[in-house]
Symmetry: C2
Subunit: 363 residues, 2 copies
């Protein structure tokens, strides 16, 4: 079984499923075997529109994929409100779970999902694609090089896009019954994740939401932000918005260096990602106003799109469970849970008039 491709079913045919369905089809160790939507017609249209193989089974109910014995794993790009129901159901049917972000409305929901995965011995991973780009590993090496970067002091993340009137009226990400976390769930998730990634997944001690969040008429977050504080003095800030120009910035400052990336979530180019790095820069003594050294661009190539790398990584863990009888790799679940804890704390701080909140209070 170890050499057999992991057979995927997709639950839901939202736009967001397009890239992943292609990635599952492209990845060497996975096969896209089934697509389910709320109607057979929608699923058929999705398969046709995305030129998916004719061998892909079409289902008009999500549950049919879970009952299919020829499916090993599911990718769940459904609205967040439906995650707990379908991720738990999938785990109970022994399907491995690749769950789109935000993974849940709060950590209590996520814990139900994780408990179901754990007790059924299935792999869990959330759909945070950018962490699988080779650039991410190279950036982490740079941050971890104390000689060049020193101690971490500040992390700042800004993610946004101008969603436009149609999205702001109709998209699931602005509907309280579908994706109630709005911009905080959609792109704030990436902000928080990037901060935790830079901070070596150390939970902040204090989270304070920014004032003046923007909500739509139904109470869904369109724009918000927060600052995060650790005991050792490092701080982080983030801002996420559906109302500003497309921006995927991460800045990480250490005592000795600075790292910047402006296309964190989706590199400008598909074949490589770049980041800017500078270490021990100072004013050049002979020429006032000039710096030495100046920040340098570092390019990191990627032979396949980052979505394929994520699917591949997930499938490798699944293959180990199936072929070698290993336990699921639980690191991904821990990282998802920490991201959710911070997200819950941001929301709690917003609800408490922007007071300081300790993330663990909400675990």
């Amino acid at each position: 079984m170890a050499q057999t491709a992991v057979r995927f079913g997709i639950l839901g045919c939202a736009n967001i499923a397009r890239q992943l369905s292609r990635a599952i089809a492209l990845s060497s160790n996975t096969a896209l075997c089934a697509v389910a939507s709320r109607s057979v017609e929608k699923a058929q249209k999705f398969v046709a529109d995305n030129s998916l193989p004719s061998t892909v089974k079409i289902y008009g109910e999500y549950g049919e994929v879970l009952d299919d014995p020829d499916i090993d794993a599911v990718y769940i790009p459904l609205p967040t409100t439906l995650h707990v129901k379908w991720a738990v159901a999938a785990a109970e049917k022994k399907k491995h779970v690749l769950l789109e972000k935000p993974v849940a409305l709060d950590v209590a929901e996520l814990d139900r999902i994780l408990e179901a995965c754990e007790s059924n011995g299935v792999q869990f991973m959330d759909g945070t694609v950018w962490v699988h780009h080779p650039r991410t590993g190279r950036m982490k090496e740079a941050l971890g090089d104390e000689r060049c970067f020193g101690q971490l002091k500040l992390i700042h993340s800004v993610l946004g896009y101008n969603a436009g009137p149609d999205f702001l009226k109709n998209d699931i990400r602005v509907k309280p019954d579908l994706d109630a976390l709005g911009a905080l769930g959609d792109i704030g998730w990436y902000c928080i994740r990037s901060i935790l990634w830079a901070a070596d997944y150390e939970l902040p001690k204090t989270v304070v939401a920014m004032h003046k969040p923007v909500y739509n008429d139904l109470g869904v977050i369109l724009s918000t932000g927060a600052s995060l504080y650790w005991e050792d003095g490092k701080v982080a800030t983030f801002y996420c918005s559906f109302l500003s120009h497309m921006t995927f910035d991460l800045t990480v400052l250490g005592t000795k260096g600075a790292l910047r990336v402006n296309d964190l979530v989706s590199p400008f180019q598909e074949s490589y990602g770049s980041f800017s790095l500078v270490s021990e820069s100072d004013f050049a003594h002979l020429e006032p106003g000039r710096w030495a050294p100046v920040p340098q661009e570092h390019r990191v190539g990627s032979e396949v799109p980052q979505e394929v790398l994520m699917v591949n990584e997930f499938a490798k863990s699944v293959a180990k469970i199936r072929g070698e009888g290993l336990k699921p790799d639980w690191e991904w679940a821990k990282i998802s849970r920490m991201t959710q804890l911070v997200m819950d704390a941001v929301k709690a701080s917003m609800e408490k008039g922007f007071q300081a909140v300790e993330p663990v209070e909400y675990s």
Copy 2:
């Protein structure tokens, strides 16, 4: 008189005076005529070390420059604590005042300085050099182009440098009796100024300091930050530190565009400054993961160092007062005062346990 160079005296020979003394010597409409320090020897050494003209008069007391009838204007790079005394004294002797930042410890002090300048009809300008670089004007044009940039949503500014152990022990900027505002006064001033500059000098409604500021043993700020909020929903965040790698970042986000600069206060190169601009970028439909357009670098040349441009601008106002009998250009004073108001609000918020503070309360 209109064609005569403005004759400058410098009060204080700190390191910070080096660039400006050279700029005064270089600028076509100014002449460096006197240097004063607490001792004649220090002033002599400063003139020699910086290869200043032999015609420069040497004074061993600040007050002697103010009594010199051949001096039109003074540049005051003294520690902040001394600003109110010497700037007021200079104005009362009818000397125009170019005052190093931070201009004062609080707005009450600044108001004493400004009242003295106004009642004596002398020009006031603070030493915020970067606003005089031609790049700054070009960036402002870009931000003002609503078709390309849309409405302003977020401003984020990070300024810092790793001051190192000698500075942190001995520099005037970490001494409570000299520059009590520490990093907030030194580089936080630029953060606040850049935010106000991007916001068309509209005072924010609310200022909230970041938690976990770092103080030295004597209570001087080594690291702090804040978020600023306006009625129309735009927000700003900043962070300033003596403890992190040299970073002069400004990011401005609109609904349609994004502008970024990483060397705001002092361009990487002396001959030009660059900034990154992107407008209406989106994912390219045919190539997933690629953006179109990507941010473009814009270079703006500067024939002379930015310090020379500031001195030149100041001297032009002085020449108009002397030659044409015009009143001082009071816009610079208003901008300094607004910067100080926000700085006072940040400090007040820090002192009130990071509560929200309205800047005008402290006027």
